[in-house]
C-alpha cells in the first residue's frame, strides 16, 4: 500500500487530496487515482493522460512513469508550474 497526495490543479480538478492505493508502479497507480476521482464525483473529467502532466515524486525523489513502488512509499503529484 502506498500513500498518494495530489497538489495544484490536479487536486482541485480530481477532488482527490490523498489516497491509499495498492500499485506496483507509478503507471499502475494513475488509473487508481482517476477511479477515486470518479468515485468522489462522477462528473469529474480528469483522465490518466492529464495526470501524466504531473511531476511525480516518490519519497522526495522525482521519478518517471515506470518507477516501481514499494509498500509504504510516499507518492506526491504536483504540476510543473510557474508564475510568482
Amino acid at each position: 500500500m502506498v500513500k498518494v497526495r495530489l497538489f495544484g490543479v490536479f487536486r482541485l480538478d480530481s477532488g482527490v487530496k490523498e489516497l491509499d492505493a495498492d500499485a506496483g508502479s507509478v503507471r499502475e497507480l494513475l488509473p487508481l487515482i482517476i477511479r477515486e476521482s470518479k468515485r468522489i464525483n462522477p462528473q469529474n473529467t480528469m483522465t490518466v493522460k492529464d495526470l501524466k502532466g504531473c511531476i511525480i515524486s516518490v519519497n522526495g525523489r522525482q521519478v518517471g512513469l515506470e518507477a516501481k513502488l514499494s509498500d509504504g512509499d510516499d507518492v506526491v503529484l504536483v504540476p510543473a508550474v510557474a508564475g510568482g
Partner: protein
Amino acid sequence: MSKYSGYMGRIAKVDLTTRTITDYPWSDRERELYLGGKIMAAKILSDNLTGHEKPLSAENYIVAATGPLTGTGAPSSNRFDLSTLSPQTGYMTSSNCGGNFGYYLKKAGYDALVITGKCAEPTWLEIHNDKFEFHQAADLWGKKITEAQNYLQQKLDDQRGCRVKCGMICIGPAGENLVKYAAVISGERASGRAGVGAVLGFKNLKAVTASGNHEVPVYDRDKMVMWNKKWDKYLRAHPLTGNQLPKMGTAGLVSSMQMRGILSTKNYKYGKYDGFEKVSGEVLAEDYNIVNKGCLSCPIKCTRCVEVDGCKVKGPELETLGLLGGGILNDNLELILKWNKELDDLGLDTISAANTLSWAMEANEKGLWKNGLEFGKTDNISALWEDIALRRGIGDELAEGSKRLSEKYGGKEFSIQSKGLELAAYEPRRAVGQGLGYAVSNRGGCHLNGGYLVILEGLGLYTDPQTPKGKPDFTMIFQDLMETISASGQCLFTSYAVFPGFLISKPNGLITTAANKVLPYLGPAVRVINKIPRAVCIDVPVLHHTNAIRYATGMPMDFGRYLSIGERGYDTERYVSSRFGVSAAADTLPGRLTDDPQDPNDPKTVVPLKEMKPVYYRARGWNKNGVPTKLTLRRLKIK
C-alpha cells in the same frame, strides 16, 4: 504630441515645491529608444539625477509611467510603474503595479507624471483631463489605505455630483512615517517594492487621483482588436495563464516549490517546510477563496479574493504565503490572510516586512538582539505591523529593514537581501540561476527583475538547478525581455505563455526532457542573440507582444528591436545607479546562500555566484565592477 499612436503624447512634470505643472519634453525618437513605462522612467531619471541627491529629499524624482499598450485593450496591459531613487537600496528602482491608476492617467491625457520637489504640508493631487489641482490632506494623513481611498472617491463623487470613474495611487501610514519598505497602493494592487511609498511620504504627497475622457489612440484598430482576441484566446488556452494561475493564483506555487526544495523556510535556512500544506494555495482555494479577480483587461485573473473579518479582500500572493508561512515557521493560514490585509492597508511591502521579521527572529534566537520575536510564535505579530508602520517600539527599528539591522546588531550572513532589498520566497540554493538574478538585479533582491530563471530550474521546466552553465546568458535575455514587457504596460505573466504549453503540460514528455537537458548548453547561442539582438529581426510566434506594439503604435517592432529596448532599459537603470555607487560589491548575496550548502551533505547546494557573475558582466558588456562600459553605453545609444 506624437506621431505614434498608443501614446497620449504628453508627460506632465509636477513640481510639488512650487506647485507648478509643465510639459516634460519627450520626443518620438525617445519613444523609439525607450518605449515607455520603466524604461522611459529610467531615461528621465538619468537626465535628472546627478548622483548627489538623497532618496528622501525634495531633489529626488519619482516617475509614474504607463506603457504604449496601457489602455489599448491588449491582454493584461493596464499596468504602470513607479521609478525613483530608492530609500531602501540607495539605487534607482522601479516598482510595477496592476492597479487602475495607469489606465486613468492615460484617460486624463498623460503618458507619465514626473514628480519632484516637496509639498509644504500633507497634500493630495487631483488630475482631471488637463487640470491639476492640489488639495490639502491634513484630514487624510494617518488614514489607512482602504479608508483613504474611500475618502478620496467620496470627495470626487461629491465634487462632481456623480460616481467618478478614476484611478488613484495612495500611501498608508508606513509611507507617511518613511518606513524603508513602504508601498504605494492603487486599488487593491501594490507598487510594493523598494520603498516607493516612503518617497511619496517624504514629499508629503498622500495620493494622486486621475480621471478623464481622453481616448487612447490606436494605430490600426481592426488589426489590434483581431490580435487581442487571438492573444486572449492563446493565454486562456495555455496551461499556466489559462489554468494554473486562474485556478490557483501565484499561491499555487507553494507545493511545487516545496517539492523542489526552494520554499524559503526559517529565514532561508531550509528549502522545505513541513507545515507547507496548511499554508498552500490548495487550502486557500478549497477553504477560503471566494472568487478570482483580475486587473483591468486581464484574462488571467490571478487574484484570490478572500473574506477577512467580514470584508472581501485580495488574498495573499505566493511571496506572502511563503515568507509569512514557512519563513517564520507559521502554519496558520487564517493569520496570514489577516496579516496580508493589514500590511496592504498600512502600505507595507509584505516581502520585506516578512523577511525583516524572520531576520529579527533569528537574531533573537542567536542572542544578537533580544526582541521577543521567535520562530513559530505568532501571538505577538499582529500588533507588530502597525508598530512598524507607525515606528513604535521595536517597530521603529524593524522599519529600517534587515540590512540596516544586521549592520547594527550583526548577523549579515543571514540578512537575506541584495542591495538592501529582501529576497522573494524562492530559496535560490536549489535554483542557482535565480540566485544570480537576485544578486545582480538592478532593483535588488527581486525575483522578477532578476530574470525569474526559476522558471527553467524547477517551476515550468527542470534544467539542472545546480549548474551555472548557460545561466548568466539566460538571465540576461530574460531580464531584457521582461524589461520591455513591463515598459509596454503589460503584466509579466504574459511572458510565461512564451513557453509553449506542451512543455509545461507534459513535463515527462520526450521533448520536455530533451529541452531540460539541452538548455544549459544553449548559453553561447543565447549570448549571440544578446550581443546582436537586431540580427533577429523576425516575429517570434509565441511572443505576441511585438505585433501588439506595432498595431497599437505604428512603430516598427520585431523580436530584435524588442530585446534591444529591454537591454537599453536595463543598462540605463544601471547607469543611473552607478552615479550612486552601485558596483560589483553591491551585486551580492548573504553568506548563507553562497557559502552554507542547503544540504550539508551536498556542497553543490549553494549559489556559485563568484563563478556566474563575471560571465554575466561580460555578456552584458559591463566592466569588472558591474558598470556598463563606455562602449556599451554608446552601442545602446544611452550616451
